[in-house]
Symmetry: C2
Subunit: 199 residues, 2 copies
């Protein structure tokens, strides 16, 4: 029994990778609402039960597939650019984020997953731990560095700054309530930095 373990582990890992690959392929091919665990299992060449052994829901396996495709799969090691100019760096980051959200291929599965998460507390907790918290920590490190450099007010609430930068952008995207172009990103960054001006 002990001698067969490594083989079983290798087989498990192969199945896991096949499932994540199949999920990622299918996300690009069919609408999220029409994606099923059955379709993922068939594409990966595994049984449905193999998927349910590791993931509690479609949302959970899609989330892992998207994470595995991300540059920083555990959300760690993320750093915002730091050229020493907080306005320039935030503008770069917000413009890039706005551009990603307007790319339908990138945005469609994220939108579906986000809305699923809003009513699924378990999935939301995984998202918070693995993506939102490491991302927020990275944003706050960059803001902390700007605060040390005297570019934002010493008393500024960094969580509030993060929410003021990303809340309007996320809402415009999710609710399709306004443009998400460079002009919007620039105006938003400028307004938030004025609000926390050190002078």
């Amino acid at each position: 029994m002990v001698r067969t373990m490594p083989d079983r582990t290798r087989r498990s890992e192969r199945s896991r990778v096949a499932i994540l690959d199949a999920t990622r392929e299918l996300i690009g091919e069919i609408e999220y609402a029409k994606l099923t665990i059955e379709a993922i299992a068939a594409r990966a060449g595994v049984g449905k039960q193999t998927i349910y052994r590791w993931w509690p829901s479609k949302g959970a396996v899609v989330f892992d597939a998207l994470l595995a495709a991300a540059e920083n799969p555990d959300g760690g090691g993320i750093e915002l650019p730091d050229t020493g100019d907080i306005a320039a760096d935030l503008t770069t980051v917000l413009r890039a984020t706005a551009a990603e959200f307007t790319d339908p291929e990138f945005a469609a599965p994220i939108r579906a997953l986000t809305t699923e998460m809003l009513n699924d507390a378990d999935l939301a907790a995984v998202y918070r731990e693995r993506m939102d918290e490491p991302m927020r920590a990275a944003k706050k490190r960059r803001l902390e560095s700007a605060r040390r450099a005297g570019q934002i007010h010493a008393d500024a609430d960094l969580d509030l700054i993060v929410d003021m930068l990303y809340g309007p952008l996320t809402q415009r995207w999710l609710q399709r309530s306004g443009g998400l172009d460079d002009e919007f990103a620039d105006a938003l960054v400028a307004a938030v930095l004025r609000a926390f001006d050190p002078d």
Copy 2:
């Protein structure tokens, strides 16, 4: 045929009211995900087809039921308080909105409907026309009055101000990513007004 029309119209209107009442009752009794058109029809004493004749989806009938229960059912006639002090008025409004969102009974159906709307473009269009646009117009009228009074900058982009006030609040609520207390509302209003200070 012509003589029977008034009766048919009255019967239709009675059914419509019964459906909206039944929906509103059921929203308070069972989880949104478990609410069905069948249950609404049974409670209202009508056939399922009667509901589908007027509403294309569960989300649509729930949305109408919530609108019918609102003080300003067509979103018109809404005005923000105007005491002449924009900081005080926005603080009042944002504190009240944050408090509503933390009330589970108020917030649960709105959350479910919001998430449904994010993936249903038709429902989103109805929401935009009947709720979001009249509400946004009312917010902008109050900001316009503050701008005339010299309390916000003459060049301020009023849509951006609305997004900066409501985006962070909506995101904290939907993603459960932070507190929604008076302290948050106060800090948010103060920061946004600093960003658009006339001086």
